[in-house]
């Protein structure tokens, strides 16, 4: 079974989303996503201060076997990126929810249509 923390929200495309105290939003990929990709060797992060649109690709993750896109769950400005992934992309395999957060976004949009942990667990089980 994949690890699906209760306190996070999830997208259908296997990103996790956390709303921080200052209303910024942190995004990463789920345990399920990293497991499907396999050994991750390269992560292309967005540029700081980029304006991004909800549903568009903002990060590319390459594993030995495949490349996967990460989509922004909402529109807004990229205010932080996780530079440690440039040298240690494998963190996305070992610590997808903590050390391997991908980017933080500032948005005036309200997050809706995201799944909670139970709904995401059902979503991934249907994909198997």
């Amino acid at each position: 079974m994949n690890n699906i923390p209760q306190e996070l929200k999830y997208t259908k495309t296997h990103e996790w989303v956390r709303v921080e105290d200052d209303d910024t939003v942190t995004v990463g990929i789920t345990d399920h996503a990293q497991e499907r990709l396999g050994d991750i060797v390269f992560i292309e992060l967005p540029e700081l201060n980029n304006q991004v649109t909800a549903g568009t690709e903002v990060v590319v993750i390459e594993s030995v076997k495949a490349a996967g896109d990460v989509y922004s769950p909402l529109s807004g400005e990229i205010i932080a990126i996780n530079q440690s992934l440039n040298d240690s992309p494998e963190l996305a395999n070992s610590s997808p929810y903590e050390e391997a957060w991908l980017f933080k976004i500032k948005s005036s949009e309200v997050l809706d249509n995201l799944m909670n942990a139970e709904q995401y667990a059902i979503h991934t089980s249907h994909e198997e």
């Binding site: 396999g38 050994d39 390269f42 292309e44 390459e62 594993s63 490349a67 440039n86």
Partner: protein, 355 residues
Amino acid sequence: MGKKTYLYNNHLKLNAKIVDFGGWDMPLNYCSQVTEHHQVRKSAGMFDVSHMTVVDLEGEKARDLLAYLLANDIARLKNIGKALYSCMLNENGGVIDDLIVYLVSDTQFRVVVNAATTEKDVAWITKHATDFKVDVKQRDDLAMIAVQGPLAREKVRSLLPIDVQELAPFYATWNDEFFVGRTGYTGEDGFEIILPGEKAPELWEALLAADVAPIGLAARDTLRLEAGMNLYGIDMDENYSPLESGLSWTVAFKPENRDFIGRKALETSADHDIMIALVLEQKGGVLRGHQTVTVEGGGIGQITSGTFSPTIGKSIAFARVPAGKYEQVLVTIRNKQLVAKVVKPPFVRNGKIFV
């Protein structure tokens, strides 16, 4: 549901991820493919390669048949047990398959062909064998296990009924049941063991007990690419000649009077493309099949095989490009052009990095 090898249940027992490969249900990986890769480079791993097909040829003119069917020269097989790698070409010089052939006796040869091409290979060989009165036998009763890695020789020592400790590279030895070649597809020392299908699970379990790690197709692909070896259907097929596939060294134009299928086409082929090997020195992505390659002067080619090399820690690839001498090329990855260095394969052999 695809065809299953004699070892299918052993793969399930090890929780392998199973995928379709050339019509067969085969293990893609058992654990991390990178971990599996390193196990072969550093100690020993084993592969179920029973999906590949053994074809036995027998007849007074078996050698003449192979001299006509193969682009490499079967006359190079002088000693019993010696193996030869060759392409089998069509009249246009396109590669029907690449294969290994062993000299078993003056009138007997054992050929190992790829899984996905088995049907057309056997049909092609049989069609020509009739003229030479050679008997062609497809051996679906046999399984094949490859044991590869620096510790392969030590690991198989007590597990095989025949002594292979002094077997020279690219030679095979056998008894009534086991046929063991010191060959492989990883760039490491090792053996390919052909045995009766029903005996395969027992040997597999014995190797497991001897700490030989099971290795899936995913690691098999990164290992063979590091070793600078082509994969049929990806790096070459019937639309490309060996000269366009980095396999010129396997085509024996001498002696000039040996007539083999495809020879005329190869001799008259004008400006053909070539295959080059690439290493991506900068970060920015992973080289993958079908990415566009731009060479000096603006010529365009394409990556055939590309991956991240676990041993080197960089991305490596084969690419087919217009003929020329290049030191570097540009590879288009997601609308960006990255510089890749042109190198001489292999990338890795016997655990050492060569590029």
